[in-house]
């Protein structure tokens, strides 16, 4: 480290590192310098001039945000001259600023207003020409998107939005246009944002220091000083962003991003604007019971819970406890998932407990547990901005984990090489230095061939392999069979690109692999994961900063639900049910005997239900009627049950089939913890009370356990945490009083442990890392004459999972109202399919009609459908073929054919530039 620099600011001696700017060192020293354009995540551009300071000996005042410190500098931040200059700066800005603070939404949350007040600038000192930023009159604003409003009469040209969009999010939807007095912030050709590359994350709105950008949600319902901000964790993906819910008079009127360890103040469109569902009128407010007339009727909690207990007990005594299964929820808190599996294991006495991780990262949990000894993301979200090379495979990161997408973009801008393997040209693939557009399901061939090249060219990390791993010889022998030429045939990727990718990844010092469901949702998902682990170990990219094998978890608390033992083979903390000493620890704590044999996985439960082996299912916050493969089969299974209980916030497609529906509290109505993808346990806080009689899931579980003679006696969720941490070694040191404000990353074995940002630093959790030879094999279903096209499925940015939340978030639903199928433009030409035309997608399991999005951004012979939309449900089509180990279904590949349908009504497509959408009728055939 270079010698520290000593300088003096406002009479105080300070020390800092060379290269630090005056504003940063002042901030560290607790001296606030005003700023409008400077932002901690953005490059300094020195445009606003508010941070002018006086430096002794300098000819002029200097901008503190761009001036690096020098030894012996004497800085005055509040001299007479400085204050006068800042006031002039404000007068010039105000001369061109619409002074309608009386009605401005941002009043009270506006830096310009704050400084105008502080410096006594009123905008009347300079006779300026107002409202020149591309608007004729104040009040003429761009408001045609459902998320936020642009009022350029209030823009001060600080460029924060421009830099946020380009430098952080990587989209560059807006930039400075024109010059001189006519300069403005504009999209290309000054089109509305809906026709630009904008993804509506609203991070520009957060960064805007004035009222030029205003969120639409909460407009005219209260200003910053009129509502309370409740800090909590976003309920969507696994990134774990901190958000504020804005509460006034017991209602949520809006939400915003807030600085948190996982997101550093960034959010995506869902986290920023997608919480309207919390107060949707469809929320369940009373327990429902199906009566003799076949309809669900509202009832009391006592009647509903008595019925659940009685029916479960009857089925248990008649058919045995394994005739009952439970699905926990990756949306619920750790405490609730802990109690759910405790209920299933100790009250019902079965290990038939699973949850939707079975559909996303079961392959990861199984694969990485085998090779590393721990099935979680090895490194942390923000390390990727410091990586030298990033290899992303099977992850549409900018849409499914948008804030990690932003971190990757920052890494790329800082010089990291980016390799993306994906059959689609996603935004991330478009930005990549190298895009490998492989056939769906050919990942092992690709990964083995990269390993082949690395070994052939001697680029492997010999020391790491020698000291930290075992099983290398077998893998070396196996990958020798995968020459780039052979892999090129299997994957469709040119051999030269495979060689280039291997060199690019192996030659850099810090290489991280990021992957998601494109790797795991295959009938060989575990082998895919092992192939990734092989590549990382081969190059020594494990256990160090900014490297690692990084499965990006899909749900806010899917990591936690796994950690809490909502899997049929493991107790909390991945402690095997089959191990007596581990089991007896829980038996002692819970006061009841536990079963030693692993239970059924999710798909097995559905199959057993259809076959009559499973008689009752208790589902907490899951919607298999849209999320699981082959929905027609799921429905058969659920309808064949003697008794189905669904506990949820809405009457989902699954709840509609239930015998008893229990109304649950949403994340905004309870306390607890979520564990994000980087294993960070963070606090969830209640903002409002639940609608009607809805109750937190953990309270419902306590009430139900009491009916099985178990009095758990929890009054607060914190008490559950202290019980579970005593039984779960990796959570051993976690308690609520340690979680504010940055949470703790497990493993955190004791109360003094600081948490673990990086796994496997010294040794692997299992001792040595295990190289595992794996072979390419084709997907369970490959195209043929009748079904010549590969269907791959996934998420899109504006919706989440089965849409029960996002489709009730008015802004998100308005922006993307329905589903679609992406078709390659060449294929569309051959099939006679036009953009926006209805098409029927047919697989061996059923057919759905949706509209075509014709695009060059998908490989020929492959189509893509998002699975969020009940009226165009991708999972009517998908295959239930399972990975033999992880029992994850092959949601990413099945064979289909397309049949164009006649146009209905007006032509047009609502998917890309929605908001101007035509109502589109999609039917769901073949599911009954």
């Amino acid at each position: 480290m270079a010698d520290a620099i000593k300088l003096n600011i406002d009479g105080t001696d300070v020390e800092t590192q060379p290269g630090t700017t005056i504003i940063d060192v002042a901030t560290e020293a607790g001296i606030e310098i005003p700023k409008l354009c400077q932002h901690r995540l953005l490059s300094a551009n020195g445009t606003c001039r508010m941070c002018l300071v006086e430096v002794e000996g300098a000819r002029t005042l200097l901008t503190a945000c761009t001036t690096p410190v020098q030894p012996g500098m004497k800085v005055s931040t509040r001299s007479e001259q400085v204050l006068r200059a800042r006031r002039s700066v404000l007068e010039f800005l105000l001369a061109e600023h619409s002074l309608d603070c009386l009605v401005c939404e941002r009043s009270g949350d506006c830096r310009l207003q704050d400084y105008a007040y502080e410096y006594g600038a009123d905008g009347r000192q300079i006779a300026g020409k107002h409202y020149e930023r591309g608007v004729e009159e104040p009040g003429e604003v761009e408001a045609d998107n459902p998320f936020f409003v642009r009022d350029m009469s209030k823009c001060i040209l600080c460029g924060r939005c421009v830099r946020m969009c380009a430098e952080v999010m990587g989209y560059g939807a807006v930039d400075f246009a024109s010059r001189g007095a006519e300069t403005k912030v504009a999209t290309s050709f000054e089109m509305p944002l809906t026709e630009s590359s904008c993804v509506f994350c609203g991070n520009c709105v957060t960064a805007c220091p004035t009222g030029a950008l205003q969120p639409k949600q909460g407009a005219r319902q209260g200003r910053a000083y009129e509502y309370e901000k409740v800090r909590t964790i976003c309920p969507y993906c696994g990134v774990g962003c901190s958000i504020n819910l804005h509460v006034r008079d017991g209602r949520i009127i809006g939400s915003s991003a807030v600085e948190g360890p996982a997101n550093r103040g960034l959010v995506c469109v869902k986290g920023h604007f997608g919480h309207g569902w919390i107060q949707d009128e469809d929320r369940l407010t009373r327990p429902l019971v199906r009566k003799d007339d076949g309809e669900l009727h509202p009832t009391s909690w006592d009647e509903a819970l008595d019925l659940v207990a009685e029916r479960l007990r009857t089925i248990k005594s008649k058919h045995g406890s394994d005739a009952i299964g439970g699905l926990a929820s990756a949306k619920c808190t750790n405490e609730e998932n802990y109690l759910f599996q405790r209920f299933m294991r100790s009250c019902v006495a079965t290990n038939n407990v699973d949850h939707c991780a079975r559909l996303c990262h079961a392959s990861t949990v199984a694969g990485l547990a085998t090779v590393f000894g721990s099935g979680a993301m090895t490194n942390s979200n923000w390390e990727f901005e410091s990586s030298d090379v990033l290899f992303i495979t099977g992850s549409n990161t900018t849409e499914t984990h948008p804030v990690i997408g932003a971190v990757v973009e920052r890494g790329r801008r800082a010089g990291a090489k980016l390799i993306v393997a994906d059959p689609r040209v996603t935004d991330m693939a478009y930005r990549a230095d190298l895009h490998l557009q492989h056939h769906p399901g050919s990942d092992i061939a690709l990964l083995n061939a990269m390993a082949h090249v690395i070994l052939a060219e001697g680029l492997e990390d010999k020391e790491f392999i020698e000291n930290r791993t075992e099983g290398f010889a077998e893998v070396k022998e196996k990958v020798a069979e995968y020459s780039p030429e052979r892999a090129a045939e299997l994957t469709g990727v040119p051999a030269a690109d495979i060689i280039e990718a291997a060199r690019m990844f192996a030659r850099e010092r810090r290489g991280a692999v990021l992957y998601s469901m494109g790797i795991t949702q295959h009938s060989k998902g575990v082998d895919n994961v092992k192939a990734i682990a092989n590549l990382a170990m081969l190059t020594g990219n494990i256990g160090r900063f900014a490297t690692g094998v990084n499965p990006l978890r899909g749900q806010n608390n899917v990591q936690g639900a796994c950690d809490m033992g909502c899997i049929p083979s493991h107790l909390p903390g991945y402690q095997l049910v089959s191990k007596k000493e581990l089991r007896s620890k829980f038996e002692r704590a819970w006061g009841s005997p536990l079963r030693a044999d692993p239970g059924l996985t999710m798909i097995e439960m559905i199959n057993e239900a259809a076959d009559g082996g499973l008689r009752a299912l208790y589902i907490m916050g899951e919607n298999p009627m849209l999320a699981d493969p082959d929905i027609t089969h799921v429905k058969e299974g659920l309808e064949n049950l003697d008794f189905l209980v669904v506990q949820d916030v809405f009457l989902t497609e699954t709840a509609q089939l239930a015998d008893v529906v229990l109304p649950a509290a949403s994340f905004a109505e309870k306390s607890g913890t979520f564990t994000n993808t980087e294993r960070r346990v963070q606090l969830v806080r209640p903002a409002v009370s639940s609608p009607g009689e809805a109750k937190a899931d953990w309270r419902i579980l306590c009430d139900l356990a009491a009916r099985f003679g178990q009095s758990w006696g929890y009054e607060e969720s914190a008490e559950i945490m202290s019980d579970l941490s005593a039984l779960t070694p990796s959570y051993g040191g976690i308690s609520y009083d340690r979680l504010d404000p940055v949470g703790l990353q497990w493993p955190c074995p004791d109360a003094d442990h600081p948490g673990t940002p990086i796994l496997h630093t010294e040794t692997f959790a299992r001792g040595k890392g295990l190289f595992s030879p794996v072979d390419h094999r084709p997907p369970a279903e490959v195209p043929n004459g009748e079904f010549p096209i590969v269907l791959t499925t996934g998420r899109m940015l504006y919706h989440f999972h089965t849409g029960s939340m996002t489709r009730r978030a008015p802004s998100l639903h308005a922006h993307v109202p329905t589903g679609y199928v992406e078709v390659n433009e060449q294929d569309a030409g051959h099939l006679g399919i036009e953009h926006g035309q209805p098409v029927k997608v047919i697989s061996r399991r059923g057919g759905v009609v949706t509209q075509a999005v014709v695009t060059p951004n998908i490989k020929q012979g492959v189509v893509f459908m998002p699975f969020h939309f009940a009226e165009a449900a991708a999972n009517v089509l998908t295959n239930t073929a399972l990975d033999p180990v992880a029992k994850i279904p092959e949601l990413k590949v099945c064979a289909v054919r397309l049949e164009p349908q006649p146009w209905e009504g007006a032509r047009g497509c609502c998917c890309e530039t929605s908001g101007e959408s035509d109502a589109f009728e999609a039917t769901n055939e073949g599911s009954d």
Partner: protein
């Protein structure tokens, strides 16, 4: 998809882009050559340049609007630049400008509907000895009167009409 996408002839642009593959700092020369080929910068060209350079389209638009040399709307086949620098101004350049623009039905300059002419004011063309003067394309015309200026413009107009018939 807008009509301009379908009618846009991308071959010339592709040739330009291919000349700059892998060269940093290529945006401005590409914009210049594109404008030379198409006469202006069509929106579809801006879109494709952005994609070709893997640069946000708004950034390309920002550069194109920053420099006076770039035009985002179609330009006339002949560009008439009437000098209004000091020397020309004192010798009555304003009268020449208004005579030409009123004859071409262009209030304050711009491009004629048939795309025959674009008329612009410029500050100084550096031939003050010839004041008042104008340029049409690369030809310089000096010591003008409103009448002689109009005769010159009519010459170009005749040529345009002849070509049209």
């Amino acid at each position: 998809m807008s009509e301009s996408v379908q009618t846009f002839d991308g071959a010339k642009l592709n040739a330009i882009l291919s000349r700059f593959v892998g060269k940093p700092g290529a945006l401005i020369p590409i914009l210049q050559q594109t404008q030379d080929e198409y006469g202006y910068l069509p929106r579809e060209a801006v879109r494709r340049i952005a994609r070709g350079l893997r640069m946000p389209e708004a950034q390309v638009y920002g550069v194109a609007t920053f420099y006076a040399q770039f035009h985002l709307k179609p330009r006339g086949r002949h560009i008439i630049r009437v000098c209004l620098g000091t020397a020309c101004h004192v010798r009555g350049a304003e009268m020449i400008f208004s005579r030409i623009t009123s004859a071409l039905d262009l209030n304050g300059g711009g491009t004629t509907e048939d795309l025959a002419f674009t008329v612009e004011k410029v500050a100084c063309l550096g031939c003050c000895g010839l004041a008042p003067m104008m340029m049409i394309d690369d030809e310089t015309y000096g010591r003008l009167t409103p009448k002689s200026a109009m005769e010159i413009v009519n010459g170009y107009l005749g040529e345009t009409l002849a070509r049209a018939s």
